[in-house]
């Protein structure tokens, strides 16, 4: 008798669990999978996209992801879209998966990105003639460190961002060495420490970025970029070397989507096709969080509220 009861209870319990599982499983099967990375504009933007998709009746799932590994995941259709593909930091990873055909290069935002050597405002007094690169080079010794052999130290981005800073230094014959930080956070830590000590620093920075809202400063002006600069050694100041110029001032910011996105979430796909952020949009999204101290979802709500005229056409079919 007793075991009979037990089996009945067990049976009930399992069917209840199975019910929960089925309902949950079915519900999230076709959700749009949006990655969240670790910088503010991306987090806010992801939430904005998510809300737009929900408005057209899609379900959304946010997945925290490393900003490099995400391209493999998108290639495997585990992630549906990345809405902030920075040419500078992720161009290499992105173009690789686009080349393999598993990711589609869908949208190019109006926002233009610039990545270049950058210094906080007070450095200008220590190095008269800035932002010209020759002025920077002339006071290289001020940027020297114990392990740099008397040369100035430039704090570059992580090696896997594939900047050609070392080649640039070489081609322009600058009295600098490049020290690669291991992460963006390490660059900001260097900058923060430099500002506190009022000590000259020159770092890798980009725009739009929250740093410009927190600290005053400017980019170093190198010889204007030209496609020939990176292809033809004869071009530019140094006739024997590539990269004797600055970075392009209008780097792309793109949206990449997975190969299957159109088939699995046609409504979200249609919205995505129309999305377009400007520099100001990105800057606002990041400033709401970084300078105004709002939490991510509140910042997304505020942006949506203030920019109705912009996003309403995106969701009208």
């Amino acid at each position: 008798m007793k075991s009979d009861k037990l089996t009945k209870i067990l049976g009930l319990a399992t069917s209840a669990i199975a019910g929960v599982v089925m309902s949950v499983g079915v519900a999230s099967a076709d959700a749009v999978k949006i990655p969240t990375h670790n910088w503010s504009s991306q987090l806010v933007g992801a939430e904005i996209l998510g809300r737009l998709f929900e408005m057209v009746g899609e379900e959304v799932e946010y997945i925290p992801m490393d900003s490099q590994t995400v391209y493999q995941a998108m290639c495997d259709n585990d992630i549906d879209l990345v809405h902030e593909v920075w040419q500078g930091a992720f161009g290499a990873a992105f173009e690789k998966v686009v080349g393999e055909g598993c990711v589609i290069d869908l949208v190019t935002h109006d926002a233009k990105t610039r990545e270049e050597w950058w210094y906080p405002a007070y450095v200008k007094e220590m190095c008269p003639g800035l932002p010209d690169w020759k002025a920077l080079d002339a006071c290289a010794d001020q940027f020297a460190r114990a392990d740099s052999g008397g040369k100035g130290v430039f704090i570059g981005g992580p090696v896997d961002w594939l900047k050609h800073d070392a080649e640039k230094v070489e081609a322009l014959g600058m009295n600098f060495i490049v020290k690669n930080a291991g992460s963006a956070a390490a660059i900001w830590a260097e900058l923060d420490s430099g500002i506190k000590q009022n000590k000259p620093v020159v770092i890798f920075n980009w725009t739009p970025n929250f740093i410009e809202a927190l600290y005053e400063g400017e980019f170093v002006e190198f010889p204007e970029h030209d496609p020939a600069c990176t292809e033809d050694p004869a071009w530019g100041v140094n006739p024997d070397a590539l990269y004797d110029c600055g970075n392009p001032k209008g780097g792309y910011l793109k949206i990449g989507v997975s190969h299957d996105f159109k088939a699995t979430n046609p409504k979200a796909f249609a919205v995505t096709q129309k999305i377009n952020f400007s520099n100001l949009d990105i800057a606002k999204q990041s400033n709401y969080v970084d300078t105004d101290g709002m939490e991510v979802s509140a910042a997304a709500e505020r942006w949506l509220e203030e920019h109705k005229e912009k996003w309403e056409p995106w969701i009208t079919m």
């Binding site: 493999q72 114990a146 896997d160 923060d192």
Partner: protein, 657 residues
């Protein structure tokens, strides 16, 4: 002993000779050459390991076994299974089950239940501790720490049991079958020393992304200690117990469940404790492939230099670890209750109390909304205070420390780095081989030389040597700092307890947080990386020194005291030599922790293997990631095998085995 004196010398002679002969050595003997095995186009080293691994990944991804399913289909359905479990734990802890109109467990119920459970297990102290830890999560939830903690907790509630079961089963089989143990042991060694970043891409390919993938990565890292301890526990059961079981006529099943596993209880519970620690250590890294919760939030806050906020999140991780750890220890120490007859509330007073508590909160929730959500205006944050401390330190300590930093860099680190990278690889492999041969004969020689050869042949030799240099320097400093601390801590009970608590805290505190203040003080340099490594890797050497010194047999110390030794004499002539084998094992663990931390120090910016692993991540190169990971792992295993062999010899010499 006197016969062996020339031997250590002989182990270094070939090495020294090769160093002297470096100018005349051919190039291939100095730096490992590149070869043309499998095409000359773009192979990094002698043997195209990377291509092989990538080919294997492709095969497992595409090849259909029995024409029906690929290996990846199999792994993917496994992760679907894990997703089901996650849906349940997430539903209970933070999402609720919308389809049934059931909400998540409210904060007050969780805090209350933790306190009641603690009371039931060990009394009011544990009640206060358990309830307090969870209360912290609610009180500091200004920035959503409660929800994030529940996400983390729900992932751990899935990964810890899975890791426990896998570890237990593998451990039992290995304890019964010697052949299986021989295979399992090296696999566990590799898994434990493999840097996490090296298999993230592979996990993403085969298991997808999201919390389910985070669970897989966590399980891979967390189950080995459980398997080891299960094996150890079953093997250490005294034969009398087994005999008693046999005489009582136990079947094999009864023997395992009624005799062996209960007898191995202490080791098993230590295994559970290790699993919890390992799972929490993975919180941040699992967020790289999609685990939501505290880890991801912490990285986000660090990215915008909100160190104080990140610290609060880090403390939440530590508190979850402390609560779970103390509970698991209390479960292990819990004696069976006496059987009490009477009504239900007498037989099960704590269960009734818990039910009553839930009922009361249920009624209260009709009156006030704060049962479901902690009142927002009461939440607090100390982040401004922490930021103030960091600011103060960087402002006032930077100048004095910069003198130390520069001197350390110029007169110490740069010369050592130069020397280590200057040594020809042939000389390194010869030295390792000679030491291996002296400590463990031909077998050890072959094994360690294979490890070193793999590193040389993979094409990342110079990088590996830089990693080695950072780990060795850190190891030396850890020993210089950690052993004295251990000696001091072992003197009295309260110093031991204090030190062990500090060790626990630093072991679970996410190390990413102190990378940034370290950079602010020491800039992006090897000094920063080494400093960060020391903070983390000193933990095991302190622990093992305490353990070794306190476990010296009492009669030996008494003998020393009766023969009139002073405290100092007892320490240096008796206790230290007796504790020596343990201290060597502590060094061994310090090295493993160091290798783990070197990879994380890569986020500061070091030119070693970690930089190459990050590069592999960028290019989704699963093969390259794994091969470099194996290089790191083999550095660790070479040192591990040699140190264990050395420790065994010492133990034999002191008659400790």
């Amino acid at each position: 002993m006197s016969v062996k004196v020339p031997k250590p010398l002989w182990t270094v002679v070939p090495f020294a000779l090769l160093l002297i002969l470096k100018p005349v050595l051919p190039n291939w003997a100095v730096t490992p050459p590149k070869s043309c095995l499998g095409g000359c186009a773009d192979i990094d080293g002698m043997i195209p390991f990377v291509d092989w691994v990538n080919a294997a990944i492709k095969f497992l991804k595409k090849h259909e076994f029995l024409g029906a399913f690929t290996f990846r289909d199999m792994t993917r359905s496994m992760s679907d299974g894990i997703q089901i479990l996650l849906d349940i734990t997430e539903g209970i802890l933070h999402e609720g089950f919308a389809d049934f109109g059931v909400g998540a467990v409210p904060w007050i119920v969780l805090v209350g239940l933790a306190a009641i459970y603690g009371w039931y297990l060990r009394g009011w102290k544990l009640a206060l501790l358990g309830g307090g830890c969870f209360f912290y999560l609610a009180l500091f939830s200004k920035r959503g720490i409660w929800e994030l903690s529940m996400q983390t907790l729900s992932a751990i509630s899935v990964s810890a049991p899975i890791a426990g079961i896998i570890g237990l089963v593998l451990g039992i089989v290995a304890a019964k079958r010697l052949g299986f143990e021989r295979i399992l042991w090296p696999v566990l060694n590799v898994l434990q020393s493999l840097p996490h970043f090296s298999y993230l891409i592979i996990v993403a390919i085969f298991f997808g992304v999201g919390s389910k993938a985070g669970v897989i990565a966590t399980v891979v890292f967390a189950f080995p200690p459980m398997a080891r301890l299960t094996m150890l526990g079953i093997k250490n059961i005294s034969p009398e117990i087994i005999e008693a079981g046999t005489m009582a006529g136990c079947t094999r099943k009864q023997m395992l469940f009624k005799v062996e596993l209960p007898a191995a209880r202490t080791e098993l519970m230590l295994g559970v404790n290790q699993i919890i620690m390992q799972c929490l250590a993975m919180v941040v890294i699992a967020s790289f492939i999609g685990q939501s919760g505290l880890g991801h939030d912490l990285l986000t806050r660090l990215q915008r230099l909100a160190i104080g906020q990140a610290l609060e999140v880090g403390i939440a991780v530590v508190f979850i670890a402390i609560a779970l750890d103390r509970f698991s220890q209390a479960v292990a120490g819990k004696q069976p209750d006496h059987i009490v007859h009477g009504p239900l509330w007498k037989r099960r007073p704590f269960a009734c109390l818990a039910l009553g508590f839930i009922a009361v909160t249920g009624v209260l929730s009709l009156v006030t909304p704060h049962i479901g959500q902690f009142p927002q205006h009461l939440t607090i944050s100390t982040s401004i205070f922490w930021d103030g401390i960091v600011d103060y330190i960087t402002l006032h300590f930077y100048q004095p420390l910069s003198i130390f930093r520069d001197a350390f860099l110029v007169y110490f680190l740069i010369p050592i780095k130069g020397a280590i990278t200057w040594i020809p690889w042939i000389a390194v492999i010869t030295l390792v081989g000679c030491i291996g041969w002296r400590l463990g004969g031909w077998k050890l020689l072959l094994l360690t030389c294979t490890f070193v050869f793999f590193i040389a042949a993979s094409g990342y030799w110079v990088r590996a040597m830089i990693t080695l240099y950072m780990v060795l320097v850190s190891l030396a400093i850890c020993a210089l700092v950690g052993i004295p601390i251990g000696i001091w801590a072992s003197r009295r009970d309260w110093t031991t307890r204090l030190t062990q608590n500090i060790c626990d805290t630093f072991q679970t505190f996410p190390s990413f947080i102190y990378l940034l203040p370290v950079v602010m003080l020491f800039q992006i340099s090897d000094v920063s990386a080494i400093f960060a490594i020391i903070v983390y890797a000193s933990i095991p050497i302190v622990r093992y020194t305490i353990f070794g010194l306190r476990n010296v047999p009492k009669d030996i110390i008494e003998a020393a005291t009766t023969s009139g030794c002073t405290y100092r004499q007892t320490l240096w002539k008796v206790r230290m030599p007796m504790a020596f084998p343990e201290i060597i094992l502590g060094l061994n663990q310090t090295l493993m922790f160091g290798l783990f931390m070197v990879m994380i120090a890569g986020f500061i910016g070091t030119v070693d293997l970690s930089q190459e692993i990050f590069r592999a991540l960028t290019f989704n190169d699963g093969g390259k990631g794994l091969v470099i990971g194996l290089c790191v792992s083999f550095i660790g295993l070479t040192a591990d095998r040699l140190l264990v062999a050395w420790s065994d010899r010492q133990k034999k010499a002191y008659g400790l085995t």
